[in-house]
Every structure is written in structure tokens, then in C-alpha cells.
């Protein structure tokens, strides 16, 4: 065995204390759901982790009623400082239970334990800490001198960063004074349910946070409900479009965080080794299941071959395998359906004439896996250059001049993120100016912080999460008069 075949270093699951079945979390308690219960499965082994309830329209109605009651009777009457204290408590408990949450997230989502442990969970706690501090300082947020909460927020989150997406939704909403009903993705409900337990441990007033598990039907019921004031959705662009259409004309506020096809631009004067790291992190971190993934590499033509060979060399040291092994870099694809999507799009790359290269990985017998893959000779009209793959597939294209790099980077209906690699600051700043993307990483990638606003241009959605601006989706100035029905 070579040194690089590191001996197994598995994280133990003994820290978990899971139920076999979970109900819905409504009004501060776990209650039965009335739909068809479904299983949540570990994507690396295909084993069932637990059974989870499905929320019907009636269940959703109950949850929203609980949220409304909590808003009217308790939460809206509480001072910002008090609200903040609850959020600080939740943040502390998240820190205390960090290891348990990391293991649960890895089990349910398939991403490596190293990432849940070092990235996801610390950010979750930090997000709650950050917004806890805003709860009694809303007059400084920039939303007017006396901003008000919206009321009840319906929140739907995806499967790629389950607990982190929950934090991005719930922390600012509560800090701003709203109550919430949140639906986690059907393939990753586990940490949301553990979060419900944490709310109980923090003594959060009943109904302030409600968790309804289910799939598309549950989500639709949430969005269409007449007694919500706000919809916050993170997920695919087609569903986002649907929601925007459904809510046209209503007074329900909407923010959407949708797909992306981020461009990572490498200039010939880039710090090349760090640029390679950034590209690798940009598309292979989280198995590429990242809306802001750097899924297109725009490399200056004169360094194309060197960059591609360095990339391939670096990818050959990535380890694909058991997500619970601490040395795993690439975990499992979240579901069979997602694997099929990735495979179909990658095949289109072959069919349309791009050249495929995949890292040599031992693929486990069970579970859903896709090796890190790089397509070269990609043209701007190829499907793999335009459509979001949401998997570990990188499409490489070239450019000759800075203008051309900008044009190609912007040539997409999406506009979530972009990366710029150059040692020349004036160029970096000018390119950043011209890129139509909500998050621009220069000489780095995939950096998240609760103080830093995140969100897209164009079809990547609207609204921001994180930072002072992350409060705006959940506040309105008291001076505004509401229009619509």
C-alpha cells in the first residue's frame, strides 16, 4: 500500500442519538404528519437512516397557524434584545453539539466529514451568532429608522448544505422578528429535525420555528398558502420561476437563490498553484453541488495546457470514498436522480465534441458516485458550458484578452458567482466591476461568512443572504404602504 493510500480513519457515528421515526415540528412539539412517511437514505451506502413524516396541506396549514400565533402573541411583542438572546442560545448549543451535527450531516447528505466538521457546521453556528447581534440593532441596518418584521415566512431549502441553508434562512428571519415555517429538502431532512430539538433545548417559544418535512407537494402547499407574508426559496431556477409566477400580484415578498454557472477566470500572471487550488475547490468542493460553483474555467489561452496538466495532477491526489472517513475529499452524489442528471449532461459533453478526462478513482459498489471530471475543448455553445450540472464536472474554455474573459464570463442567464485569478490588483478590480455576478472571489473561492452578503444577478435569483443586507428580505420600513392583495 502506498503512503497516499491512507489507512482508514473513520469518524464514529456513536455520537449520534437518532430516532427511528421523526414527526413534524409544529408549535414547539413533534407531531404526526398525515401524508405518506418516507425514508431518508445515506447516499454512500444506500442504507435507511430514519423515516420522516410527510406534511400534507392540512399539516402545512397547522404549521402556519402556529407560526402566526407565535408571531402575534409572543415574538412580535418581544424586545429585540430578548429575541437576540434566544438566537445566542441557539448558536451556543450548535457549537456544543457540533460534532454530532457534522456526523449527522455527512450521513444524510453524503459530503465528507472533513467538510461538515470544518466548514458547514462552524458556519452554521457563526450565522446564528452574527444575526443574534442584529436583533436589537435593526435601526442601524439601513432599512429605515423603525423597520418592522414581515410576519410569517415560508422557507424552502435545498439538499446541498442542509443545515447551513437552514441557518441562512432562519437566523435573519428570527433576528428581524419574523416567525418561520421551513421545509428541508426531502433527501436531507435530518439536521433540520435535530435543529428542532435544539430549539427546544434553547426554550425557544413554541411556534417561532416550525419544520415541515416533505417533497414538492409540501413545498407547493407552503408557497400557495394565503396566510404567509414572505417566501424565501433556495433551489433550482425552474422551481424559482414557478414560485415567482405563483406569487405575482400578491403582497407576499419573495427572495430566491437559484442556480449558477460560475466562471473562474485565470490570467497568465496568476499565482498559479493557488489558482489551481481555487479551481479545484470551486468545482469539486461539495462534489460540485454548489450553486456558486466555479463550473466554468476560463483560462488565458497562452497558459491553457500548463493549467490543464497541473489541474489533472492535482485531481489525482483527491480521495473519493466513504464520507465518514476523515481523509475523504470527494463524497457521494446526493441521490440517484442527481447522479442521472450529472451523467446525462456529462455525456452530452462527449456527444458535442468536448474532450473528457476523469480522475482515476475506485468507485464503491454501493451508493451514488461520480469521479472528478474535466472537459477541455469546450465551446460556449456546448450544453456543458451553459447548463448547470450541479456535479463534479468542470468545463474548460479559453480567452485571449480581459475583455473577452469578461464577455464570456457574463455570457449566461445566470449571475451568482465568479472567480478572478491575477496578481495585478488594478485588473482584478476592473474585472470585478464588469462581472455581472453577485459574489466575486479574487484569488480565492468558495469563501462564506455571515457578515458577507451572498446572492445572484439575473436568473440566479434576487435578494441577499448574509451581512446587513441579509436582513432586508425580512424587514420593511414602517413608512411603506403595502400594495397588492
Amino acid at each position: 500500500m502506498g503512503f497516499l493510500d491512507y489507512a482508514p480513519a473513520p469518524e464514529s457515528t456513536s455520537v449520534l442519538n437518532l430516532q427511528k421515526e421523526y414527526g413534524l415540528f409544529i408549535g414547539g412539539e413533534f407531531v404526526d404528519g398525515h401524508g405518506s412517511a418516507f425514508a431518508t437514505v445515506s447516499p454512500s451506502t444506500e442504507e435507511v437512516i430514519a423515516t420522516v413524516a410527510e406534511a400534507t396541506e392540512a399539516d402545512v396549514d397547522k404549521a402556519i397557524a402556529a407560526a402566526r400565533k407565535a408571531y402575534d402573541k409572543t415574538w412580535s411583542r418581544m424586545s429585540g434584545s430578548e429575541r437576540g438572546k434566544y438566537l445566542f442560545r441557539i448558536a451556543r448549543i450548535l457549537q456544543e453539539r457540533a460534532r454530532e451535527l457534522a456526523v449527522a450531516e455527512t450521513l444524510d447528505n453524503g459530503k465528507p466529514i472533513r467538510e461538515t466538521r470544518d466548514v458547514d457546521i462552524p458556519l452554521v453556528a457563526a450565522w446564528f451568532f452574527y444575526y443574534a447581534g442584529w436583533a436589537d440593532k435593526l435601526e442601524y441596518a439601513g432599512a429605515g429608522p423603525n423597520p418592522k418584521a414581515l410576519g410569517v415566512a415560508a422557507q424552502i431549502i435545498p439538499w446541498n448544505f442542509p443545515l447551513l441553508m437552514l441557518a441562512w434562512k432562519i437566523a435573519p428571519a428570527l433576528a428581524a422578528g419574523n416567525t418561520v415555517v421551513l421545509k428541508p429538502a426531502e433527501t436531507t431532512p435530518l439536521t433540520a429535525l435535530l435543529f428542532a430539538e435544539i430549539c427546544q433545548q434553547a426554550d425557544l417559544p413554541a411556534g417561532v420555528v416550525n419544520i415541515v418535512t416533505g417533497a414538492g407537494a409540501t413545498g407547493a402547499a407552503l408557497v400557495a398558502h394565503p396566510d404567509i407574508n414572505k417566501v424565501a426559496f433556495t433551489g433550482s431556477t425552474p422551481v424559482g420561476r414557478n414560485i415567482a409566477q405563483t406569487l405575482a400580484g400578491s403582497s407576499t415578498k419573495v427572495t430566491l437563490e437559484l442556480g449558477g454557472k460560475g466562471a473562474n477566470i485565470i490570467f497568465d500572471d496568476a499565482a498559479i498553484d493557488q489558482a489551481i487550488e481555487g479551481v479545484v475547490s470551486g468545482i469539486f468542493f461539495n462534489q460540485g453541488h454548489v450553486c456558486c460553483a466555479g463550473s466554468r474555467l476560463l483560462v488565458q489561452e497562452n497558459i491553457h495546457d500548463d493549467v490543464v496538466s497541473r489541474l489533472q495532477r492535482r485531481l489525482s491526489t483527491l480521495r473519493l470514498g466513504d464520507p465518514l472517513d476523515k481523509n475523504t475529499d470527494i463524497g457521494a452524489v446526493n441521490s440517484k436522480a442527481q447522479l442521472a442528471r450529472i451523467t446525462e449532461l456529462a455525456n452530452s459533453g462527449d456527444e458535442e465534441g468536448a474532450h473528457r478526462w476523469s480522475a482515476a478513482c475506485e468507485i464503491p459498489a454501493r451508493g451514488f458516485w461520480f469521479p472528478p471530471t474535466v472537459f477541455t475543448d469546450v465551446q460556449t455553445s456546448h450544453r456543458i458550458a451553459r447548463e448547470e450540472i450541479f456535479g463534479p464536472v468542470l468545463s474548460v474554455m479559453t480567452f485571449r484578452t480581459p475583455d473577452e474573459a469578461v464577455a464570456k464570463a457574463n455570457n449566461t442567464p445566470y449571475g451568482l458567482s465568479a472567480g478572478i485569478w491575477t496578481e495585478k490588483a488594478s485588473r482584478m478590480l476592473a474585472i470585478a466591476d464588469k462581472l455581472r455576478a453577485g459574489v466575486i472571489w479574487a484569488n480565492t473561492f468558495n469563501k462564506f461568512d455571515p457578515a458577507s452578503p451572498f446572492g445572484g444577478y439575473k436568473e440566479s435569483g434576487y435578494g441577499r443572504e448574509g451581512g446587513r443586507h441579509g436582513l432586508f428580505p425580512y424587514l420593511e420600513s414602517s413608512d411603506w404602504t403595502k400594495g397588492g392583495r
Binding site: S81, G84, K85, F88, A126, F129, Y130, A132, G133, W134, A135, D136, K137, Y140, G142, P402, D403, V406, A425, S426, R427, L429, A430, I431, D433, K434, P450, A451, G467, R468
Partner: protein, 287 residues
């Protein structure tokens, strides 16, 4: 027969340690009625000098922490204070001669003050800083930074301030990453030293806060004129010879905050008062 208690010795808090005054002097702390409570250290100008040295040594590291980290440290102060509230209630009752209810209220308010400021550490820059839309191809951003070492007077009112006044003065100074030398309430200093014990057990690096007890009057001229002190917070200093101190500070152009009646327990202005605004330009060009 009742158990014989072990009265606490109250010393100074400098550089994360609890030294006696180098002068060896102490002074009597009594209740408002004149009953003996404790002998507290009477800080000398050399103690003050040492405190400035300690504050300066700690300042770079403290300002260099992430704002998140600093916020966590301030929040931990609140946690530890909450855990030890009974001790403070007792000390306040004895020092100020107030009721348990009033003492509890003061401790509550002090804890909440630390919570409020801890939550601003990673936010005030978003309120007080911004990008500037200059008329040219330049990236331009303004960011507030801590001014450095701040000397502050805790308010010296008859009651209601020995812990709360200290907190309202100190917390905003620390929020941005300054380090401080605080002159405690001259006749009710016990809460300040017990508070130093909270600091010492709360992940606050040594030297970030230094607390001197005794009479501010002989110390202030030295501190106000000290060339390695960046700012003077006289907000709590209306009782003293503050005009002279402000004048002493003028020589080295320190930033001076004049006395105010009552110190707000929540004030973004008090945070910003001890920061410097830095504006950075950079060219932008595609070619």
C-alpha cells in the same frame, strides 16, 4: 458558632495579572454609612505607566483577531458575569447601599450591555464604513479601525454605576479592538476588581483591559499626557478636573471624549468615537 469568612484582598488588574500597587499604598473602601469593606490598592503613576505598557503590548493582537472572535470574547464576558451574578449583587448592595432589587437590576443591565456590544463587533464596520463612489477609475473603500490604547474613567456617581457605568464605558471601547486602562469608581471600586476576575476567566487576553483603583486625580495628568495613549474617554469624568486633563491631552493630539451626563448603555457613537477611518484607493483598469 458561625464560620469565619475569608475576606478577599482587592488588587489592581494589569497585564492579565493582579498585582498590588508598586507603591504599596492602599485605601479603605467603606459602605456609604462608613463601615469598613476592604482595603483596595491605591494605584500610583508607575502602575499607570505599567498599565499603558501592557495595553499597548496587547493591542496589536486584540485588534488582529477576527471581529467574530472579538464578539465571542465579549459575549463570554456576559456569560461568565451571568454565572457569577450573586457575587456582584452582594458587592453592589454593600458598596452602594442599595436594595437587592436595585442591585439585581444593575447587574442585569450590565450583562445586557455586554451582550449588546458583543453583537456589534462584526457589524459596526458595516454601519460606519462603506465604499465611496469617487469620480474616477478607482476602487475606494472606507473602513473604521480601532484607534489603539484608550484611557477611560468609569463614572463616579453615588449609586447605580459601580458595575453598569464601568460596563457602559468599557464595552464600546473594546468592541472595535482597542485596549483600555480604566480608572474605577474612586469610592466604589470593588465591582471593578471583581469584574477583572470575570475578564481574567473569559478568554480576554492579558493587557486588553487594565483596571486601576484609587484616586484618579494624581494619575490622570500622567495618563492624559502619556505619548503612547491614543484616546481619552472622559465621558465618566464630570466629577474630576477634566478640563485640565483635556488640555494635557492636547499636546499629543489625543482623541478626547468630553464628559456627559449619564453614559448610554448602548451607543454606536461610543464605538465609533474610538476608531479611525481609513480610506483606501486603488486603480481599476482592464488592460
Amino acid at each position: 458558632m458561625a464560620r469565619l469568612s475569608i475576606p478577599k484582598t482587592y488588587k489592581l488588574y494589569i497585564g492579565g495579572k493582579f498585582p498590588r500597587s508598586e507603591s504599596g499604598y492602599t485605601f479603605e473602601v467603606t459602605t456609604p454609612k462608613g463601615e469598613f469593606l476592604a482595603n483596595a490598592a491605591k494605584a500610583s503613576r508607575k502602575d499607570a505607566r505599567d498599565a499603558v505598557t501592557a495595553a499597548r503590548a496587547a493591542q496589536g493582537g486584540f485588534a488582529g483577531l477576527t471581529a467574530y472572535n472579538r464578539g465571542q470574547i465579549l459575549y463570554r464576558i456576559a456569560e461568565v458575569l451571568e454565572g457569577r451574578r450573586d457575587q456582584f449583587v452582594e458587592e453592589i448592595r454593600a458598596s452602594e447601599g442599595v436594595s437587592a432589587q436595585a442591585a439585581n437590576k444593575q447587574v442585569d443591565a450590565a450583562i445586557d450591555t455586554w451582550v449588546w456590544y458583543s453583537g456589534f463587533a462584526d457589524k459596526y464596520a458595516q454601519v460606519a464604513g462603506n465604499g465611496n463612489p469617487v469620480a474616477g477609475p478607482y476602487f475606494n473603500i472606507s473602513t473604521p479601525e480601532p484607534t489603539g490604547v484608550v484611557v477611560a474613567l468609569a463614572p463616579a456617581g453615588k449609586s447605580g454605576e459601580s458595575l453598569l457605568g464601568l460596563s457602559a464605558v468599557l464595552a464600546p471601547i473594546l468592541t472595535s479592538g482597542n485596549t483600555a486602562i480604566v480608572l474605577a469608581h474612586p469610592t466604589q471600586p470593588l465591582s471593578a476588581i471583581s469584574f477583572a476576575e470575570v475578564l481574567a476567566t473569559s478568554d480576554v487576553p492579558g493587557g486588553v483591559v487594565n483596571i486601576l483603583t484609587g484616586d484618579p486625580a494624581p494619575l490622570m495628568p500622567w495618563l492624559a499626557s502619556h505619548a503612547d495613549v491614543n484616546a481619552l474617554d472622559l465621558a465618566g469624568g464630570s466629577e474630576g478636573d477634566w478640563v485640565t486633563w483635556q488640555s494635557d491631552a492636547a499636546d499629543t493630539l489625543k482623541r478626547v471624549l468630553a464628559p456627559s451626563v449619564g453614559i448610554p448603555a448602548r451607543s454606536v457613537e461610543r464605538i465609533v468615537a474610538f476608531t479611525e477611518l481609513k480610506t483606501v484607493w486603488h486603480t481599476k483598469a482592464l488592460g
